[in-house]
C-alpha cells in the first residue's frame, strides 16, 4: 500500500506537466487530491503495519546483470517518515493555494515539480536497494532548483543554484562511496540488507563512512556544510521552504542512518589515537552536530529577516537529529527519528506562518519593520499561531519537540555528557531567539507613531483563507497530538531502531 504513494505522486506530476491550458485553475485542486490520496495511503500503510517489523512492498529484478533490484520495504522509521512526507505535501499545497490565482503563475508546472519532488522523497524512504534509493534521492534534487528559481523571492537564482550544487556535490560523495562498496563486495548486489552483512575491511570503512555520511549530512544541514540551507529557505517560495525544511533535510539525516551508519558501522569505531579528545569519526560528526546546534541558534538570535531566523533554527534542530543518531543509543536514535518528524511538522508550520501568512500581507520580513506594524493586534490569528508554533519549536512539554529533544539529550548524556551540556545551551538559546522574533514581530512595544508623532492606525489585512487555516490545523494538530501521545509514533520507531544492526547501538557503554 505504501508503494502507491510513490507512483501516485509521479503520475500526478506527469499529468500536471501535460495539463491543458484551459484547465489551469484546476491544477491545484488536482494536486491537492493527489497529495491527499498520498497521505491517505501513507496513513493506511502506517496503521496497517502497526506492530509489524519491516514490511516488504516490492521486489523485481531491474538490471539483473548488475544485481540491481527494484526493492521497496518499510520499517517503522520509514513509515513514520512517509507519513511526515504525506503531511508536508498536503500542507505545502494548501499554503500554495494562491498559485493559480493569476494566469501567469504557471500553476501546473509548479505543482508538477512539487509532486515530482514528493514522489522522490517517498521513494527514498521506501527503498531498500541502494541504487534505487540513490535514484530517488537525485530525483528529489532537481525539482527543488526549479521550484526556488522560478517561484522564489529574495536572490532566488543564487539560492537555488547554491542549493542544487551543494546537494549534487553531496550526492556525488554518496555515489563514490556506494560504487566503491558495490565493487568491493563483488558487484553482485546493491541490496542494503545484503551489503550490510558484507565484512568491509576496517580501513575501507574508515574512509567510506565519513565520505558517505558527509554526503548525506550536507543535505541534513550539518555544520559547516549548512550554508545552503538558510539562503535556500529564504529564497524559496513558502511551499518549497516547507518541503525543504520539512522533508528534504530529513532525507539527509535518513541517509546518514540508513546508509552510512548501517553499511559502514565500523567507520564509527575509534581511530586508536585522539586529538583534543576527538578519537573517532563519530566524535568528529557529533562535534559538528553540537556546533550546528549552538551556532544555528546563535545566528538565528541576531537575524533581522524573519525567514532567516527560521532558516537558522532549522540548522540548529537538524543538529539535534544528527547528535541523536551519533549517540548510538536506543533512546538517542529514537529521539532523533522523532525529532525528524517533529521538526518536519514544526518547520513547515513556522515557514507557513512567516512566509505565507505574514509576508504575503505585510510584504516585509524585516523584524525592525514588522515591529512597527502592531501585528499582534492586526493579525491576531498569525500572532497566536506563531506563539503556538514557537512554543512547540522551543521544546515546550505538550508538543512533539519536547519528547524528541528530551530523548536526544538523554542519549547524548549517556554517550558524550559534555556535548549534551552544550546542546542544552543551544536549546536555551533556541528559546531566546524564538522569544525575540515573536516579541519583535507581533508584540512589540515600539510606539506605533510616524515621524510627526501621530499614531499609526492598526493596518487592515486580508483575512486568513480557508486553505491556510486548514494547513495550520493539520500541522499544529499533528504536533500537539504527538506531543500528548508520542507512543503513536514511538510504537513504530522503537522496534525499528532495535532491529538496526547491533553495531550501531553500542553507544553509552
Amino acid at each position: 500500500m505504501l508503494a502507491y504513494t510513490i507512483y501516485l505522486s509521479f503520475a500526478g506530476a506527469l499529468a500536471l506537466a501535460f495539463w491543458p491550458k484551459a484547465l489551469a485553475k484546476s491544477a491545484r485542486v488536482f494536486a491537492l487530491l493527489v497529495a491527499l490520496a498520498g497521505l491517505g495511503f501513507a496513513l493506511a500503510g502506517f496503521i496497517a503495519a502497526a506492530g509489524q517489523g519491516s514490511v516488504a512492498l516490492a521486489d523485481l529484478a531491474w538490471v539483473p546483470a548488475l544485481g540491481i533490484h527494484y526493492t521497496l520495504a518499510a520499517d517503522g522509521i520509514s513509515r513514520v517518515l512517509v507519513l511526515l512526507t504525506g503531511l508536508a505535501a498536503v500542507a505545502g499545497i494548501l499554503f500554495s493555494w494562491y498559485i493559480g490565482d493569476k494566469p501567469g503563475d504557471r500553476a501546473n508546472e509548479f505543482f508538477a515539480f512539487f509532486l515530482a519532488l514528493i514522489g522522490g522523497v517517498y521513494g527514498v524512504f521506501l527503498s531498500v536497494d541502494l541504487f534505487l534509493l540513490f535514484v530517488f534521492y537525485e530525483i528529489a534534487i532537481v525539482p527543488k532548483y526549479f521550484l526556488i528559481a522560478i517561484w522564489g523571492s529574495t536572490r532566488r537564482e543564487y539560492g537555488a543554484m547554491k542549493l542544487a550544487l551543494y546537494s549534487f556535490a553531496g550526492s556525488a560523495m554518496v555515489l563514490i562511496g556506494l560504487l566503491a562498496a558495490y565493487a568491493a563486495a563483488g558487484s553482485h548486489t546493491m541490496n542494503l540488507q545484503t551489503l550490510a552483512q558484507y565484512p568491509f575491511p576496517i580501513s575501507f570503512q574508515m574512509w567510506a563512512f565519513p565520505l558517505v555520511f558527509t554526503g548525506f549530512a550536507i543535505l541534513a544541514g550539518m555544520w559547516p556544510f549548512h550554508t545552503w540551507a538558510p539562503t535556500g529557505h529564504v529564497a524559496a517560495p513558502t511551499a518549497a521552504s516547507m518541503l525543504l525544511a520539512g522533508v528534504v533535510m530529513k532525507l539527509g539525516a535518513y541517509g546518514c542512518l540508513r546508509v552510512a551508519m548501517t553499511l559502514f558501522p565500523h567507520g564509527l569505531d575509534p581511530w586508536g589515537w585522539s586529538f583534543l579528545g576527538i578519537d573517532s569519526w563519530r566524535m568528529v560528526f557529533a562535534l559538528f552536530a553540537v556546533i550546528g546546534i549552538v551556532y544555528g541558534a546563535a545566528v538565528a538570535l541576531v537575524q533581522n529577516d524573519f525567514k532567516f531566523v527560521i532558516g537558522y533554527s532549522s540548522v540548529s534542530h537538524m543538529g539535534l537529529v544528527l547528535l541523536g543518531l551519533l549517540t548510538l543509543t536506543q533512546i538517542g536514535i529514537d529521539g532523533a527519528v522523532l525529532q525528524m518528524f517533529s521538526h518536519g511538522v514544526l518547520a513547515g508550520l513556522l515557514f507557513a506562518t512567516v512566509g505565507r501568512i505574514v509576508y504575503e500581507r505585510t510584504h516585509t520580513r524585516d523584524l525592525g519593520l514588522l515591529s512597527k506594524l502592531q501585528l499582534g493586534k492586526a493579525m491576531p490569528f498569525a500572532a497566536w499561531l506563531f506563539v503556538i508554533a514557537g512554543m512547540a519549536s522551543m521544546g515546550l512539554p505538550g508538543f512533539s519537540g519536547f519528547v524528541a529533544e528530551v530523548q536526544v539529550l538523554i542519549g547524548a548524556w549517556r554517550a558524550f555528557p559534555w556535548f549534551a551540556g552544550v546542546a542544552g545551551v543551544g536549546i536555551v538559546v533556541g528559546i531566546a531567539y524564538t522569544w525575540r522574533a515573536m516579541q519583535r514581530a507581533f508584540f512589540s512595544d515600539t510606539p506605533a507613531v510616524d515621524a510627526s508623532g501621530a499614531a499609526i492606525p492598526i493596518p487592515v489585512y486580508e483575512p486568513v483563507t480557508w486553505a491556510e487555516k486548514a494547513g495550520v490545523f493539520l500541522l499544529a494538530g499533528t504536533s500537539l497530538l504527538i506531543g500528548l501521545y508520542p507512543r503513536l509514533l514511538l510504537d513504530q520507531i522503537v522496534p525499528a531502531v532495535q532491529a538496526l544492526p547491533h553495531a550501531i547501538l553500542t553507544g553509552g557503554h
Binding site: 506537466a17 531491474w62 538490471v63 539483473p64 546483470a65 548488475l66 544485481g67 508546472e109 541504487f131 540513490f134 535514484v135 537525485e138 530525483i139 534534487i141 532537481v142 532548483y145 526549479f146 528559481a149 522560478i150 537564482e157 543554484m161 542544487a164 550544487l165 549534487f168 556535490a169 550526492s171 556525488a172 555515489l175 563514490i176 560504487l179 566503491a180 558495490y182 565493487a183 558487484s187
Partner: protein, 489 residues
C-alpha cells in the same frame, strides 16, 4: 594472409555497400530528376533517401550479421555489429533533424557526404588493421571537413572547417607516423599480431614514441585534451546537423577504434614486461582523461554560446570514457560503447533543439533560450531531458551509462591503483557540470522571454525530438532493455 575471398568480403561490407549505393542514388535523383524543383523538395527527397539508406543498412546488419574471427582485418562480432547499428540509427536521426535545415543549396551533395562519413564510421568500427583504420578514419575525417564547410555563405563555417582540417591533417600525419613505428617494431599491421608480438618485447623508447603519436591521432578524433582545440570552434561554426554528426556517430566510431587499439597495445598477459608496457599506454590515456575532465568541465562553466558549452561538455564526457578505455577489460569496453552511444543519442537531441532555436532567434547564445518553456513547452521539455541526462541525473539514460562505466572501471583488476581516485574525481567533476547545464535550463525555464510569440516547430522535427526523449527516458527506466544488444555489467 587472411583467407577472405571477395564474395565473403562483399557480404561483410554489405551495409557499407548499401550506403554507397544510396549516396550515388541521391546524387542521381537530386542532380538528375529534381534539378529544377524547389529547394525544400530537394532537401526532403535527399533526406528521405538518406534515412532509408541508413535504415536499410541497419536492417541488413540486424537480419544477417556475418561474424568473423577476431584476428581478421575487418572484424565483425556482436559488439561491433551493435556499434554499427547504433551509428546507422544515429545518422538516420541526424538526417531526420536536417529536413528543415537551410544552410546549403546543395542538398544532394550534403546527404551524400553524410552517408560517406557514415560509411567511414562503420569501417572504423570494424577495422583491426592499421592501414584499414587509417584509411577509414581519413574517409570519415575528410567527409566531416567538407560537411563543416558546407554553409558556404557563413564565414564561421569556413573558418571552423579550416581549423578542423589543419588540426586533423596534422594529427593524422602523427598517427600515421606512429603506425609506421608500430609496424617497424612488430612487423605487422594486424592488431592481433601486433598484440602477440608486443607481448614478447620490452618497453623501448621507440615504442613510447609510437604510442604517443597514436594517442595524439586518436585523441584528436575523440577531442581529448590536449588535442581538443578544434572542438569548440568546429562545434560552433559547423551547420547544426553536422555538429550533431561530429558529436555523435563520429565519436562512437572513434571510441570503438580506441578500444580496439588499447586491447592490442596493452597485452592481456600479466608478465612484468607486459604490464610495464601496458602502463605507458595507460598512463597516456589517464593523463588525457584527467586533463579532459578537468578542462572540459571548467571551461564549460564560462561559456555563453550553448554550442561551445556542449563542445566543452563533450570534452569532459570523452574524459570519462577514456577512464573506461584505460581499465581495458571486455566489460569496460562494452561500457564505453554503451556510454558513447547513449551520449551520442542525447547530444543529437540537444543539437536538434539548438538548431531550431537558432533558426528562429538567429543565435545560439544562452540568452536566445530565454523563456523557451513559455514559447514552446514541449520543445523545452525535450531539452530538459537531454541536458539532465547529460548531467547524469537518474532515471535518465546518462546516469546509467555513467554508473555502468564507473562500476566497470572499479571492478577491473588493472585499476586497483588508480581506479577509485579517478572515478572520485570524475564524479566530483560531474557535480560541477550540473552548474552549466542548469545555466541553460535556467534560461529556458526561469527567465522571461524577450519575445513572447510561440515558437513554431515542424511536426517532423518535434516528433523526432520526442522520439529521442522517449528513448532517453525509456532506456533510463529500463536499462536492461538493450541487454541482448549491448550487455550491461
Amino acid at each position: 594472409m587472411n583467407s577472405l575471398n571477395y564474395a565473403s568480403l562483399f557480404q561483410l561490407t554489405l551495409p557499407e555497400t548499401i550506403l554507397e549505393v544510396f549516396s550515388l542514388l541521391i546524387l542521381l535523383v537530386d542532380l538528375g530528376f529534381l534539378r529544377k524543383s524547389a529547394q525544400s523538395t530537394r532537401m526532403t527527397a535527399a533526406c528521405v533517401l538518406g534515412v532509408i539508406g541508413s535504415l536499410a543498412a541497419a536492417i541488413c546488419l540486424v537480419c544477417c550479421p556475418q561474424f568473423t574471427s577476431n584476428t581478421a582485418a575487418l572484424v565483425s562480432s556482436p559488439i561491433v555489429v551493435a556499434a554499427q547499428i547504433g551509428i546507422l540509427l544515429l545518422t538516420a536521426l541526424v538526417l531526420l533533424l536536417s529536413f528543415k535545415a537551410r544552410f546549403s543549396r546543395n542538398p544532394g551533395e550534403f546527404v551524400t557526404v553524410v552517408l560517406l562519413a557514415t560509411t567511414g564510421m562503420l569501417l572504423v568500427t570494424a577495422a583491426r588493421d592499421l592501414l584499414l583504420i587509417f584509411i577509414a578514419l581519413e574517409l570519415l575525417s575528410l567527409s566531416l571537413y567538407i560537411l563543416t564547410a558546407f554553409s558556404k555563405s557563413s564565414a564561421q563555417s569556413a573558418e571552423a572547417a579550416l581549423k578542423y582540417c589543419l588540426f586533423g591533417g596534422m594529427s593524422a600525419a602523427l598517427m600515421l607516423f606512429g603506425f609506421t613505428y608500430l609496424y617497424g617494431l612488430t612487423g605487422s599491421t594486424n592488431l592481433a599480431e601486433i598484440a602477440a608480438s608486443l607481448a614478447t618485447q620490452g618497453v623501448t623508447p621507440l615504442l613510447i614514441v609510437a604510442l604517443v603519436m597514436v594517442a595524439a591521432g586518436l585523441g584528436f578524433k575523440v577531442a581529448a585534451v590536449p588535442f581538443h582545440l578544434w572542438a569548440p570552434d568546429t562545434y560552433q561554426g559547423a551547420p547544426a546537423p553536422v555538429t550533431a554528426l561530429i558529436a555523435s556517430g563520429s565519436k562512437v566510431a572513434s571510441f570503438a577504434v580506441l578500444v580496439a587499439v588499447t586491447t592490442a597495445v596493452v597485452p592481456a598477459a600479466a608478465s612484468s614486461q607486459a604490464s610495464s608496457q601496458g602502463a605507458s599506454w595507460t598512463v597516456l590515456l589517464l593523463t588525457m582523461a584527467a586533463a579532459s575532465i578537468l578542462l572540459g568541465n571548467l571551461a564549460a562553466l564560462v561559456q555563453t554560446s550553448v554550442r561551445r558549452l556542449l563542445a566543452y561538455s563533450a570534452i569532459a564526457h570523452a574524459g570519462y570514457m577514456l577512464l573506461g578505455i584505460a581499465a581495458n577489460t571486455p566489460q569496460s569496453g562494452t561500457a564505453v560503447l554503451y556510454y558513447a552511444l547513449t551520449y551520442a543519442l542525447t547530444t543529437i537531441g540537444a543539437f536538434g533543439v539548438i538548431a531550431i532555436v537558432e533558426r528562429t532567434t538567429g543565435s545560439d547564445n544562452l540568452d536566445a533560450f530565454a523563456g523557451l518553456s513559455r514559447r514552446n513547452p514541449l520543445l523545452a521539455g525535450t531539452m530538459l531531458v537531454f541536458l539532465l541526462s547529460l548531467a547524469g541525473i537518474p532515471p535518465l539514460v546518462g546516469f546509467w551509462a555513467k554508473f555502468n562505466l564507473f562500476a566497470a572501471v572499479l571492478r577491473a583488476p588493472s585499476t586497483t591503483v588508480w581506479g577509485l581516485g579517478f572515478v572520485a574525481a570524475a564524479l566530483a567533476a560531474s557535480a560541477v557540470s550540473l552548474y552549466y547545464y542548469l545555466q541553460v535550463l535556467k534560461r529556458i525555464y526561469v527567465l522571461k522571454p524577450t519575445n513572447e510569440e510561440p515558437l513554431e516547430v515542424s511536426p517532423l522535427e518535434l516528433a523526432t525530438l520526442v522520439l529521442i526523449t522517449a528513448a532517453v527516458v525509456a532506456l533510463g527506466l529500463f536499462p536492461a532493455a538493450l541487454a541482448s544488444w549491448i550487455p550491461l555489467g
